[in-house]
């Protein structure tokens, strides 16, 4: 029997994902990230500043609507930090989801011309999203440090700040997982695109981004909220920096388990779609 390096067949197993090949294409991932950065910053003077405008405006609106008018509690922490922190970490999920959810439709042209492991594309998007997150996070830190040093006791940072990379990783996994599931479905059913922005918005209100879990009365409502896998991440993030909120290893473990399952499912669905999507897109 002769040996062949590559065999192209009609079907592969659902779990037959060539991670070795993805690793071989790591330089491509780097180039895609570079391309994203260049195309955002070239020929704009303010470039990165724009990324900060959105959280500022949103925070101001939340302060007025939810803080002043609705008078929703922020667990006694400064409103500006509470909202800004929530928005910053949530934005990273949203950004990752929004960009990866367009993987197939936006790259149909490239995908139709050349082969490379398609997963590289959403991976690159999540990676370049880190830069936007970094800028927004730096802004959050600036405001945070101001409160930390000028207003004694307004915020109580603690050891769990060390878990920040875990929170970011989990948000990336959620964004990537849901995004690639979404993009796989939209190749066949275009109308799902309409759900995209709307769905993320709904999800945000269903997660404790602009309100703390403690503001929800004990009972069914709170139980449902605690089932939301985003809850431990958002609460944990605020707990680490502001000292208010809830943290437990169990809930974090639950969140990580859900993220892993979603990402795993996403990769399988994505993998199944990538092989023939060019015929249907």
């Amino acid at each position: 029997m002769e040996k062949y390096d590559l065999i192209i067949r009609p079907k592969r197993h659902a779990f037959d994902i060539n991670f070795k090949e993805i690793w071989q294409y790591r330089d491509l991932l780097r180039m895609f990230v570079k391309r994203d950065i260049i195309t955002v910053y070239k020929q704009t003077i303010l470039g990165p500043i724009w990324f900060v405008v959105q959280p500022i405006m949103t925070t101001l609106i939340y302060m007025v609507v939810f803080g002043r008018i609705a008078q929703i509690s922020t667990d006694g922490t400064p409103q500006i930090l509470f909202y800004l922190g929530g928005i910053t970490i949530w934005n990273y999920f949203q950004e990752s989801f929004n960009t990866t959810a367009k993987t197939f439709t936006e790259n149909a042209n490239i995908f139709g011309k050349v082969y490379f492991p398609r997963l590289i594309m959403p991976f690159a998007k999540v990676t370049s999203g880190l830069i936007k997150f970094g800028i927004q996070f730096a802004f959050f830190m600036a405001v945070y440090l101001y409160y930390l040093f000028t207003q004694e006791g307004a915020v109580q940072p603690n050891w769990s700040i060390a878990l920040l990379p875990v929170y970011i990783l989990l948000m990336a996994m959620f964004g990537l997982g849901t995004g690639i599931i979404f993009t796989s479905w939209t190749t066949k059913y275009r109308d799902l695109t309409f759900l995209l922005t709307f769905g993320v918005q709904l999800l945000m209100y269903a997660s404790p981004v602009i309100y703390p879990v403690s503001s929800i009365p004990e009972g069914t409502m709170r139980d449902i909220l605690l089932l939301n896998p985003f809850t431990p991440i958002l609460e944990g993030f605020k707990y680490a920096f502001l000292g208010a909120g809830h943290f437990s290893w169990t809930s974090l473990g639950y969140s990580a388990a859900v993220a892993t399952v979603i990402l795993f499912l996403g990769i399988i669905i994505f993998h199944k779609t990538e092989r023939n999507f060019i015929d249907t897109v």
């Binding site: 002769e2 062949y4 192209i8 071989q24 070239k42 490239i110 139709g112 050349v114 023939n276």
Partner: protein
């Protein structure tokens, strides 16, 4: 014997026309269960339809863009893949490039395969030439260090050294294409799959590109699969041709014989009325019906060099047409143009056509040497194409006394021309 580097077995690709999915949720579910859980073949894929684009597609009809293709390519071969539009060439390329996957069958490949369906994939106009080299190179599967090593060569081949750090949006389109091809040419895969779209750029660059491909195959012993409509470049490059016809195997073998077979096949339907030919284009307000060829007034497709040839071209019209131009291109058996007859240049457009009729193209003293020729027909009215048929018919020219001297020339290339030698 050299070893097989590509082995294609029973390869088919089925497309469903009209809609995506089987159309009903229950079929979709049934198919899903069978294919994904039970691991069976698609129960709704009917392998059996011939891809015939002349027939109007029924809703949800399945069409085999490729059917039961078996092909082996040996190391160092330059294989030309030819076929009419819709014969399945692009589908085969897509399958080889792994852009889409087959419905049945398999392709086995030995060594690295790179396919060029396009040059400069992934180029971004905001990025500099250097950045785009890395972008495109990595998309094609090169590692960064490989590109580092070849950067100078690529830049030199493309001739863009001066503009390496300029965004490619400031490049001329020719420069962009050259850069794209230069990267592709330096990929150094064991197997290169090339689409004819590569035949872009100016004449000088084309020569360079073809030269590079020849170099790749002959001197470096690499395998090349080349898809083209252009018989001349196929003849130049390929050691073997594979012909597809309506998604199926038609011919596999020697280049010259293959090209003959392909061209003959294109006119084999001279019996079919021209107006019913499926491979024509235009708005069909005027349709060619038939062409009757006369040799010194006698009907028949056999002509002689120097004879008085007449082509009676019959047409039908749908409405009154003005300023009509007719054009006939005579090509030889390698699809190389020998001459063009066009009433726009040689006289003037027909002012007005009000009813079906014929027009006669008269060529006194036919300048074609011995051989088999084909003609393309085209009619245009006020810059809109009415009817365009390639390979509308064929003629056979026998040796003849072109110069009227009683001597019969025997060479076959070029054209005869009336001339004088003046001695002093």
């Amino acid at each position: 014997m050299s070893k097989t580097v590509i082995k294609i077995e029973n390869l088919s690709k089925i497309y469903r026309l009209g809609e995506v999915g089987t159309g009903t949720l229950s079929h979709d579910l049934n198919r899903f269960v069978r294919m994904n859980i039970l691991g069976q073949d698609d129960p709704y894929a009917k392998v059996g339809h011939v891809n015939d684009r002349t027939q109007k597609a029924e809703k949800g009809e399945l069409v085999a863009a490729l059917r039961d293709i078996n092909l082996e390519v040996k190391e160092g071969e330059v294989l030309g893949i030819i076929g009419k539009n819709g014969a399945g060439k692009s589908t085969l390329l897509k399958l080889l490039s792994r852009v889409t996957s087959p419905t049945t069958g398999s392709i086995k490949v030995k060594g690295r395969l790179a396919s060029l369906l396009e040059v400069g994939t992934g180029f971004h106009p905001e990025m500099t030439g250097r950045e785009n080299i890395y972008m495109n190179g990595t998309i094609m599967g090169m590692r960064k260090w490989e590109i580092d090593r070849k950067l100078d060569e690529i830049v030199e081949f493309a001739g863009v050294a001066k503009y390496l750090d300029t965004p490619t949006k400031r490049y001329s389109s020719g420069m962009t294409v050259r850069l794209g091809f230069a990267i592709a040419a330096h990929l150094e895969p064991e197997i290169l799959v090339v689409d004819e779209v590569l035949a872009v750029g100016d004449a000088e660059f084309q020569k360079k590109a073809i030269g590079k491909m020849q170099d790749v195959s002959q001197n470096q012993g690499r395998t090349v699969l080349f898809v083209s409509h252009n018989m001349a470049s196929i003849q130049n490059l390929c050691t073997r041709v594979y012909i597809l016809e309506k998604g199926q195997y038609y011919y596999d073998g020697d280049t010259d014989a293959g090209i003959q077979k392909y061209l003959n096949n294109r006119v084999s339907n001279t019996e079919t009325k021209l107006s019913e030919r499926s491979d024509s284009s235009g708005n069909c307000l005027l349709m060619f019906e038939k062409v009757i060829i006369k040799n010194n007034g006698h009907e028949g497709i056999n002509l002689q060099s120097g004879c008085n040839a007449e082509f009676d071209i019959y047409y039908s019209i749908k409405e009154t047409l003005e300023e009509v131009v007719f054009r006939m291109i005579i090509v030889d058996n390698q699809d190389v143009v020998r001459f063009v007859c066009n009433n726009y240049h040689s006289s003037r457009p027909i002012t007005r056509i009000t009813e079906d009729g014929k027009i006669t193209l008269q060529i006194k003293n036919l300048p074609l040497p011995e051989g088999k020729y084909y003609f393309h027909l085209l009619s245009v009215s006020k810059n809109t194409k009415l009817h365009d048929i390639e390979f509308a018919g064929s003629i056979v020219v026998e040796r003849g006394d072109f110069y009227g001297t009683g001597k019969i020339p025997t060479f076959k290339s070029g054209l005869f021309i009336n001339h004088n030698w003046i001695s002093y």
